[in-house]
C-alpha cells in the first residue's frame, strides 16, 4: 500500500501552482486570469495544511492560516472582478490584450 507522505501533498500543491501560473500567463480573458489566481492561492492553502499535518505537532496554525488565505482570496477576487468591470466599461471587452495603453 502506498503511504501518502508530505511530499505527495507538496507535489500536488506544486502542480496546482504551476497550473495556476500557466493559466495566468496564457488566458486572454480577464476572468480566466482570475481563475488562475484562485488556483495559485488554493495551492498555498494545500501547502499550509500539509505542513500543518505532518510537521506541526498537534498545532493548528497551518489550518488557521489556510482559512485566512481563503478569506483573502475571496476579498481579492471581489476586488479583481471590480477592476474587470471597470475595464469592461472603458474598453467594451475583457480581453487583456486590448488593455495595452501603458506599453513602453
Amino acid at each position: 500500500m502506498l503511504t501518502i507522505g508530505l511530499t505527495h501533498y507538496l507535489v500536488v500543491a506544486a502542480v496546482l501552482f504551476c497550473a495556476g501560473v500557466f493559466v495566468m500567463m496564457t488566458k486572454r480573458n480577464a476572468i480566466g486570469i482570475l481563475i488562475g489566481v484562485e488556483l495559485v492561492l488554493n495551492s498555498t492553502g494545500v501547502n499550509l495544511i500539509a505542513f500543518d499535518r505532518y510537521v506541526g505537532q498537534g498545532r493548528v496554525d497551518g489550518q488557521i492560516m489556510a482559512l485566512f488565505v481563503i478569506v483573502l482570496a475571496a476579498a481579492e477576487a471581489a476586488l479583481a472582478v471590480g477592476i474587470c468591470i471597470n475595464v469592461y466599461k472603458n474598453l467594451a471587452t475583457v480581453d487583456v490584450d486590448s488593455a495595452r495603453d501603458l506599453r513602453g
Binding site: 503511504t3 507522505g5 508530505l6 511530499t7 501560473v21 495566468m24 500567463m25 496564457t26 488566458k27 486572454r28 486570469i33 505532518y54 510537521v55 487583456v96 490584450d97 488593455a99 495595452r100 495603453d101 501603458l102 506599453r103 513602453g104
Partner: protein, 794 residues
C-alpha cells in the same frame, strides 16, 4: 662806435640796452629770421581778407623790411667790431644751445656769427626787400590768372616763407639745421616756380626743380652721414677742428682704407657735401632745372634763381670748405669749370631773354664753384655777392621788358626798345657791364681802380686760377725754412698768393705752426690745377660779354623787328626804384663793404692750407708788373666780347642767321642744350617707368600669386573643415551617441509591452530562476540534495 658811448637817452625799443646785451647780434639775426615766418602765417591765415595792396605791403614790411632793418643794424655794429678787432671774440663766443642728443652726439643750435654771415644776411635781405617791393606792383597784374584760388597773398606768403628759410640757412651753425633750411628753400622754390600751377609747363618745371634738387640732396645726405659718423659732430666749427685733428693724426675718417673711384673716404665726404651744392646751385649734370624754372613769375626768377637760393650752394661749399680734401676741391673745380663753359655756350644761342639770363646765371655759378675749387674762397664769395646784385637787376629789367612787350619773351621780335623804355635799357646796360667785368684795366688812381662787378670778382677768380695752374710749386722752398703750405713765388720773389689765414703775407712761420704737420702734409701734395681749366675759364670770360651784349643789343638797339610789339612797349615808373637801388648796389658792392667783410671771415673759416687769396685783387701794381698779359687779357675781355657782338648784330639778324646756317650741327646741339633733357627723360624718367613695370609684374604675378595660393588653400581647408569634419565627423559622433541611446532605450523599452500576460510570464520566470539559484546555493552549502531530501520528515 666811439660816439655812441656818450648817448645817454635810451631809446624806447632798446629797454634792455642793446649795446651791452649779451649775444645781441645773434638775437637780432634770429629775430630777423622769425619775422618772415610770422609774415607767412599771417598771410596764410588772413591773406584773403587782407586784400590786394595790404597783403603785399605787409609781406614787404614784415617779411623783409624788418629783417633788413635788423641786418643793417647788425652790419653797422659788426663793421665797428671788425675795425676795432673784437669781431673774432664775438664769433668764438657765439650763442650755442644744446638742443638734442642723437645717440651720443649732441646737436647744438646756434647762430654762426661771423663776417660772412653778416655780409650774406645783409645781401639777402637787401635784394629780397627790393624784389618784394617790385612784386607789389608787378604781381598785382599777374596773379589773377591762377585757376580758382586766390593768388596775390599766396605769392607773398611763399616769398615770406622763402625769406625765412634763406635767412635761417645763412645763420645756421649746424649742418643739421642748414640741411633743414636747405630743404625748406627747395620747397619754396617748388611752390614759387609752380605758382601758375594751372599751366602744365609751370607745374612740371616745379617738379623738375624739386626732383633734381633731391638728387643732389642724396649725395648731400651721404656727406652728412659721413660727417656725423666719422667726425662725431654736426656743428660746423667743431667738425672742422676734428677734421684737422684726424688729418694730422691719421685717425677717424683718415684711418679708413675705403676707396671709390680712387677717392678716399674723406674725399667722398667732401664730394657728397658738394653734391648738395650741385643740385641747389645747378651745376653741370644737375643744371637742367634752372632754365625751366623761368616758368615762374619774374620776381621769383630774380630772387631765387639769380640771387639767393642758387647762391646757397656756393655758401654751403664756403661753410664746409674746411672739410674738403684736395681731391674733393679738384672735383669741385672741374664741375665748376664744365658748368661755366658749357652753359655760356648754350646762352649764346638762346632767343628767350629770360632763358638767356638763366644760362648766364648757370655760367656765373660755375665761376663761383670753380673759384671755390681753386681755393679762391674770398673771390668766389665776392663774385656771389656782386652777381646777386646785378643778376637780380637784370631779371627785373627783363621783367619790365616782357611786361612792356605784352608778354613777348622772344628777343628776335624785339629791337629798338631803347627809345620806348630808356630807363630799363640803361640799367640793363649797367648790368651787362657788371657781368662782363667791364673796367679800365691797369689804371689805378689813388688806390682805386675803375670797374664794375665782375671786373673785380671774376678777375680775381681767374687770377687765383692762373696762380694755381701755372705757378703752383708745391715743393718746399729752402729759403723759407722748409715750411709747407706756402704756395708759390713769382719770379721776382714777391708772393702773389699766400695762405688766407695769413693776411699780412710775411709770417709763414706762424701759418705752418698753427696748422700742425698733418693738414699741411696732406695739402703739400696738392697737384696744380690742370691748365685746360684755366684756359676754359679765360675763354668763357670772352664769351660772357658776347652773349650779354647780344641780348642787350637785340632787345634795345637797332631797328624794331616786330612793329606790333614795339608799339605796345612801355615802362611803368613804379618799378624804377628797385632798379635804381640795385644798380647802386652793384656799384657799391663792387667797391665797398662786402669784400673786406669776406676777407675778414676768411682766416677763421678756411683754416685749410689750400685757401688762396690774392692781395686785394688782380690789379695790384706788383702783380700788374709781373703779369701784364694776364691783367690785360682778362681785363679787356669785355671789349673783345662787346665788339664781336655789336659787329654781328649791328645790322639785325642777318649775319647771325648766316652763321647759324654754316655752323648748323653745333647750333642745333647748343639749341637743344646738349640734349640733356632728352637724355634724362630717356634714362631717368623712362628708366623709372621700366622699373615700375617690373615691380608691377613682380607684384601681380609673384606676390599676388603667393597670396592667392594662400587664400585658396585656406578656402579649401575651410571647406574640408566645415563640410567634412563638421558634418560627417562631429555630427556623426553626436548622432551616433543619440542613436545608441535611442537603441538602448528601445531595448530597455521592449519588455514594456503593455500586455499583462507578458508581465506575468516575466515575473514567474524570474521567480523560478531565482528560486533555483537560491535552492542550489543553499543545497550546496548544506551538504547536497540528497541529504536535504532525506531530512524531510515523513
Amino acid at each position: 662806435m666811439v660816439g655812441r658811448a656818450h648817448v645817454t637817452r635810451t631809446k624806447w625799443w632798446a629797454v634792455p640796452t642793446l649795446r651791452n646785451m649779451n649775444h645781441q647780434y645773434e638775437i637780432l639775426l634770429a629775430l630777423g629770421v622769425l619775422s618772415p615766418m610770422i609774415s607767412f602765417w599771417v598771410l596764410v591765415l588772413f591773406g584773403p581778407k587782407m586784400g590786394k595792396p595790404l597783403a603785399g605791403w605787409f609781406g614787404v614790411i614784415m617779411g623783409m623790411g624788418v629783417p633788413l632793418a635788423l641786418a643793417t643794424y647788425v652790419l653797422v655794429g659788426w663793421c665797428g667790431h671788425v675795425q676795432s678787432g673784437t669781431a673774432a671774440a664775438l664769433t668764438a663766443d657765439a650763442f650755442r644751445l644744446n638742443w638734442a642728443t642723437i645717440g651720443t652726439i649732441p646737436i647744438t643750435v646756434g647762430v654762426k656769427l661771423d663776417s660772412l654771415t653778416v655780409a650774406m644776411y645783409f645781401m639777402v635781405t637787401f635784394i629780397a626787400f627790393w624784389i618784394f617791393f617790385f612784386s607789389v606792383g608787378y604781381m598785382s597784374g599777374h596773379s589773377d590768372e591762377v585757376a580758382g584760388q586766390s593768388k596775390y597773398h599766396r605769392f607773398f606768403a611763399y616769398l615770406s616763407l622763402f625769406g625765412f628759410s634763406m635767412l635761417g640757412l645763412v645763420i645756421s651753425s649746424n649742418l643739421l639745421f642748414l640741411f633743414i633750411f636747405w630743404e625748406l628753400v627747395g620747397l619754396c622754390s617748388y611752390l614759387l616756380i609752380g605758382f601758375y600751377f594751372d599751366k602744365l609747363f609751370a607745374s612740371t618745371a616745379a617738379i623738375k626743380a624739386f626732383v633734381t634738387n633731391r638728387v643732389g640732396d642724396f649725395g648731400f645726405l651721404i656727406g652728412l652721414m659721413l660727417v656725423y659718423f666719422q667726425l662725431g659732430t654736426l656743428d660746423l666749427d667743431e667738425a672742422a677742428t676734428r677734421f684737422a685733428e684726424q688729418a694730422s693724426m691719421g685717425t677717424g675718417i683718415f684711418a679708413s682704407h675705403f676707396t671709390m673711384f680712387g677717392w678716399s673716404l674723406a674725399t667722398i665726404m667732401g664730394v657728397g657735401l658738394f653734391c648738395g651744392a650741385m643740385g641747389k646751385s645747378a651745376q653741370f649734370p644737375l643744371h637742367v632745372w634752372l632754365p625751366d624754372a623761368m616758368a615762374g613769375p619774374t620776381p621769383v626768377s630774380a630772387l631765387i634763381h639769380a640771387a639767393t637760393m642758387v647762391a646757397a650752394g656756393v655758401y654751403l661749399v664756403a661753410r664746409v670748405f674746411r672739410l674738403m680734401t684736395p681731391e674733393a676741391l679738384m672735383f669741385i673745380a672741374m664741375i665748376g669749370c664744365l658748368t661755366l663753359t658749357l652753359m655760356a655756350l648754350v646762352a649764346v644761342v638762346q632767343v628767350d631773354i629770360k632763358k638767356c639770363l638763366a644760362y648766364s646765371t648757370l655760367s656765373q655759378l660755375g665761376y663761383m664753384i670753380f673759384g671755390m675749387g681753386c681755393g679762391a674762397w674770398i673771390a668766389a664769395l665776392f663774385h656771389l655777392i656782386t652777381h646777386a646784385f646785378f643778376k637780380a637787376m637784370l631779371f627785373l629789367c627783363s621783367g619790365q621788358v616782357i611786361e612792356g612787350c605784352h608778354h613777348e619773351q622772344d628777343m628776335r621780335k624785339m629791337g629798338g626798345l631803347r627809345k620806348k623804355m630808356p630807363f630799363t635799357c640803361w640799367t640793363f646796360f649797367v648790368g651787362v657791364l657788371a657781368i662782363s667785368g667791364a673796367g679800365v684795366a691797369g689804371l689805378e688812381v689813388a688806390h682805386t681802380k675803375f670797374g664794375l662787378g665782375g671786373f673785380f670778382s671774376k678777375d680775381e677768380i681767374l687770377a687765383v686760377a692762373y696762380a694755381r695752374a701755372f705757378e703752383w710749386d708745391y715743393e718746399k722752398h729752402q729759403d723759407h725754412g722748409g715750411h709747407n703750405g706756402h704756395a708759390s713765388l713769382d719770379h721776382t720773389g714777391v708772393p702773389i698768393v699766400r695762405l688766407a689765414s695769413d693776411p699780412t703775407g710775411d709770417d709763414a712761420h706762424a701759418a705752418s705752426a698753427t696748422h700742425g704737420g698733418g693738414m699741411a702734409a696732406i695739402f703739400e701734395n696738392t697737384p696744380p690745377l690742370p691748365k685746360w681749366m684755366f684756359w676754359l675759364a679765360l675763354i668763357t670770360a670772352y664769351v660772357t660779354p658776347f652773349y650779354m651784349m647780344r641780348a642787350w643789343w637785340l632787345t634795345f638797339m637797332g631797328k624794331p623787328r616786330d612793329q606790333h610789339v614795339h608799339d605796345h612797349a612801355h615802362e611803368s615808373p613804379l618799378m624804377y626804384v628797385p632798379l635804381v637801388v640795385l644798380a647802386m648796389g652793384t656799384f657799391i658792392s663792387s667797391y665797398f663793404l662786402f669784400r673786406p667783410l669776406i676777407a675778414d671771415a676768411a682766416p677763421a673759416a678756411t683754416t685749410a692750407a689750400l685757401v688762396l687769396a690774392t692781395d686785394g685783387n688782380l690789379h695790384t701794381p706788383a702783380i700788374s708788373a709781373a703779369h701784364h698779359w694776364l691783367v690785360f687779357g682778362v681785363g679787356c675781355a669785355f671789349i673783345v666780347g662787346f665788339a664781336i657782338a655789336i659787329g654781328i648784330y649791328s645790322r639785325g639778324l642777318g649775319v647771325a642767321e648766316r652763321i647759324k646756317r654754316t655752323a648748323g650741327p653745333i647750333h642745333t646741339l647748343l639749341e637743344h642744350k646738349y640734349y640733356f633733357d632728352e637724355f634724362y627723360g630717356l634714362v631717368c624718367v623712362k628708366g623709372c617707368l621700366v622699373v615700375a613695370k617690373i615691380c608691377r609684374f613682380v607684384d601681380t604675378w609673384i606676390i599676388d600669386l603667393v597670396v592667392n595660393i594662400a587664400a585658396s588653400a585656406t578656402e579649401r581647408f575651410a571647406a574640408f573643415s566645415g563640410l567634412i569634419i563638421d558634418n560627417h565627423g562631429v555630427d556623426g559622433v553626436v548622432n551616433g551617441v543619440a542613436k545608441t541611446s535611442m537603441d538602448f532605450a528601445g531595448v530597455v523599452r521592449a519588455p514594456q509591452t503593455g500586455r499583462i500576460r507578458h508581465y506575468v510570464l516575466f515575473a514567474a520566470g524570474v521567480a523560478a530562476i531565482v528560486l533555483l539559484v537560491v535552492v542550489w546555493v543553499g543545497l550546496e552549502s548544506t551538504g547536497g540534495a540528497t541529504a536535504t531530501v532525506s531530512a524531510i520528515p515523513q
